[in-house]
């Protein structure tokens, strides 16, 4: 008992003496530092992630205080930039907070496998032999990104695809470097539409490998010009964030993060069901709108056609009636919009054409 007491006392004593001496000498050897360094450091997120390119938040603060022109802290976002700027008495540069996004939705059941992977189970090794998925751009799901994430914002759920939790992500970008396939991207938080695919393969190869791959059909770019299709792969760079865009994609590759989180969109069957029913509704509406638009156009054409009808030649007469039948049918549609457009367009032409004749 005594021995333990002595041991504890001596260790505590040595520690105490060392502590007292240190605090004394820290006063003696106090170095005048720019007080702004401390202020800036306090304003920073303090994650010491190194995303700014410096060794840590302290180094960043020093660099800022010494007047170096360095990019704003990518983690802190505009708030931090403003705070830092206030301390330094300068203008804050515009900085938009970015979070990581794994651009792949190819869960196990949606993708074709090349075979069983035997060997070291990490993405780096797996990517050397081309991965275990048919798609070369498909998330391997061994979690190299998760490994480097300082805040544990990346998870791999049942689908075997890495998914970033955008609320937890601090935007350090380490996972982007860690991913051997390069399918993680930093995206601005204001961007709500994302193409969850990285495959630059041709449409045929994508179809073979994955049910949810981008085939580069460009339908989305017609809906929202913010979509850019290159190398048979779409990406979104617009600011419009058209909420209809996800519905036009034939392979359901586009997620609208205002409606579903990426996790729900990739993992949850009920979310998919919901999305599909929404898509159906949208398609229905679109069909009706198209019909309505066609009807209005027809109306105009008819009005225009009535006047020169007498002048028109025989050949034209033959064509006009058939066209008009369709047009008339769509006019009716507008009147009873509740009715199914299919039925109308299917049934009416017959009767109409009869009338016309």
């Amino acid at each position: 008992m005594n021995e333990i007491l002595i041991a504890v006392l001596i260790l505590t004593g040595v520690g105490l003496v060392a502590g007292i001496l240190l605090s004394y000498f820290s006063k003696v050897f106090y170095v005048e530092e720019d007080p702004r360094i401390d202020q800036v450091e306090n304003a920073l997120p303090g994650a010491n992630c190194g995303a700014c390119g410096l060794a840590g938040c302290r180094d960043y603060a020093k660099a800022v205080a010494s007047g170096k022109d360095i990019p704003a802290c990518p983690v802190g976002g505009p708030e931090t930039a403003k705070k830092v700027a206030d301390i330094m008495g300068s203008e804050a540069g515009e900085v938009e907070k970015k979070v990581a996004l794994v651009k792949c939705a190819g869960t196990t059941e949606r993708t074709t496998r090349r075979g069983q992977l035997v060997g070291i189970h990490d993405c780096r090794s797996a990517s050397l032999i081309g991965g275990n998925k048919e798609c070369r751009y498909g998330c391997l799901g061994f979690g190299d990104c998760n490994e480097v994430c300082p805040v544990n914002a990346i998870h791999i759920y049942a689908g075997g695809v890495a998914i970033v939790d955008p609320d937890a992500c601090i935007g350090c970008g380490l996972c982007v470097k860690a991913c051997p396939l390069g399918i993680i991207e930093m995206v601005a938080v204001s961007r709500k539409l994302h193409v969850l695919c990285s495959s630059k393969e041709s449409a045929l190869a994508v179809k073979k490998a994955c049910q949810v791959g981008c085939i580069g059909c460009k339908i989305c770019s017609r809906k929202d010009s913010g979509f850019i299709v290159e190398d048979s792969l779409a990406r979104y760079e617009g600011t419009e964030n058209s909420s209809d865009a996800p519905f036009v994609c034939p392979n359901n590759v586009i997620v609208d993060t205002r409606v579903y989180s990426t996790k729900e969109f990739i993992e949850s069957a009920s979310a998919m069901e919901h999305f599909n029913s929404e898509k159906e509704t949208y398609k229905e509406k679109e069909r009706q709108e198209k019909a309505a638009a066609a009807a209005i156009a027809a109306e105009k054409k008819k009005a225009a056609a009535v006047a020169p009808k007498e002048v028109a030649g025989k050949e034209k007469d033959e064509v006009v009636p058939t066209k008009e039948t369709a047009q008339i049918s769509s006019v009716k549609e507008v009147d009873k919009k509740e009715e199914k457009s299919d039925q109308i367009s299917d049934s009416t032409p017959v009767s109409n054409s009869g009338k016309e004749d």
Binding site: I10, V14, A18
Partner: protein
């Protein structure tokens, strides 16, 4: 005579880095430039002499009388950590340039096993006070020689045409191995 032999022994034959493999971290970390290597060596020399003295005194006045020899590692770590803090403050005040140059490696002296290794070694080998001082100072000089040699070679490597596969760390480690091999040649210098 006895101390001279001890000095030669600790500089060349029992070189801390190249034959005892202590302090590899700064050996590889701050050997990019001769100037920073010199700064690091001086910091290590200072800390090593100071730490060994303090730990030696502590051991023989405090630990041994109370029969607490088994506690030496933890007490030494405590002492060394505090000393490094102190050295850091002093250097920051006296030479900000050196402070900048050493950067992260200065606090890393805390975990430099060469320091703790020497402190424990002096106790293990039962040196008296002067023996301990000679061992610590010349041990640090041996550390400095190895570090400076290595830094000099690396500076040259930087500008020479190294095959792609050997660039950077690979060639550095090979050089370290060859350097260690060369120091093995001193082993017959002191008989016994």
């Amino acid at each position: 005579m006895q101390y001279l032999l001890l000095a030669i022994n600790s500089v060349l034959i029992g070189n801390l880095i190249l034959s005892k493999f202590l302090g590899i971290c700064p050996f590889l970390g701050v050997s990019r430039k001769v100037s920073t290597a010199l700064g690091m060596s001086m910091a290590v020399l200072f800390v090593m002499a100071l730490a060994s003295t303090v730990t030696w005194v502590l051991f023989y006045t405090l630990l041994k009388p109370f029969g607490l020899e088994y506690m030496r590692t933890i007490v030494f770590i405590l002492v060394i950590a505090s000393l490094v803090q102190l050295v850091e403050m002093v250097i920051q005040k006296v030479s900000p340039v050196l402070y900048e140059a050493l950067g992260i490696y200065l606090p890393l002296i805390t975990t430099n096993c060469a320091i703790l290794g020497v402190a424990i070694d002096t106790i293990e080998k039962g040196y008296n006070f002067i023996g301990m001082l000679v061992y610590a100072i010349f041990g640090a000089i041996g550390f400095a020689i190895a570090l400076l040699l290595f830094a000099g070679i690396r500076e040259r490597l930087e500008t020479s045409d190294v095959p792609e596969a050997f660039k950077g760390a690979a060639s550095s480690l090979i050089v370290a191995g060859i350097l260690s091999l060369a120091f093995m040649g001193f082993s017959g210098l002191v008989p016994g």
